[in-house]
Subunit: 139 residues, 2 copies
DNA sequence: CGAGTATGTAATATCAGTGATTACATTTGT
DNA sequence: ACAAATGTAATCACTGATATTACATACTCG
């Protein structure tokens, strides 16, 4: 959803877009969009103004925003599920499992983000232009 | 939890371990473990027998089971959330977003699994031996 | 300055996924 | 036959994401 919203903003480069418009594109509620926009603001990916005629826009060119930044802006929680409760003290394996898994998962997450870094919003815009959406009537 | 269970099985190499024992180590319910073991069986990572004196054991040496296999065995659902409802037909961006994101996310997931492939159960056992768990009294 | 517009935010409802628990049928070894 | 252990269904609690309504706040424009 975050990628979708940012891509719409990329299309409307420079123009301020309202949460109501974005909600229409994603087919969801404006409040959901506004909460998402708050995350994107904190990550400095967009700028938002209040009041009449206001809205949001990208704070950088689409070619300078990659999907790893979007991922980090939105995914504040852990990528993998950590063991929930306390480890069983009697089991030697349980003792170190948490720390060991943290190490492994941090590495895996880094690998994932490295891959996401290779795609920018501009790449997605280009792909969208090339795809079968050429049957748009209003333009 | 799957990694934890498999590591315990690696420790008890050859022996059959019951779901009740594993549940004790992970601090959860035996039924949860049994459902997990079914996934691991389908992935051919373990072999399970029924009846008295039965249980589960690894079907391969710990050095020949990597975490990518465990990931695939357990994570049947998509790694990333796909847009839920139908796309808004009036929005040109919405049209292609789904396919484009599928491509990007498939690549990211492949990168993640490649990283997980580099760690085997044997690696985790070695790390556990080296860690501060050396204060185990019963052995 | 006042009216309208749009965001920020709280409260609440719904829904899916995961874990927890109980119960029971089935299989298997002694 | 009995005991042990898995396979499995039914149910409950909990969490996270999405949805919706309502309202306070901030800003622009006439």
């Amino acid at each position: 959803m975050a990628v979708h919203v940012l891509t719409v903003l990329a299309y409307k480069e420079g123009d301020r877009v309202t949460s109501a418009f974005l909600a229409g594109s994603v087919n969801t509620n404006p409040v959901i969009i506004r909460r998402l926009l708050l995350d994107l603001q904190r990550a400095r990916l967009i700028e938002t103004t209040k009041g009449a005629g206001a809205g949001s826009r990208l704070s950088r060119a689409p070619g300078r925003i990659n999907l790893a930044e979007v991922f980090r802006a939105v995914e504040e929680h852990e990528t993998f599920g950590r063991p929930s409760g306390k480890p069983n003290q009697a089991c030697p394996v349980a003792q170190c499992m948490r720390d060991e898994l943290d190490r492994v998962f941090a590495s895996a997450r880094a690998a994932l983000e490295s891959d996401l870094e290779r795609t920018t919003l501009a790449d997605l815009m280009k792909a969208a232009r090339d795809c079968a959406c050429s049957d748009k009537k209003n333009e």
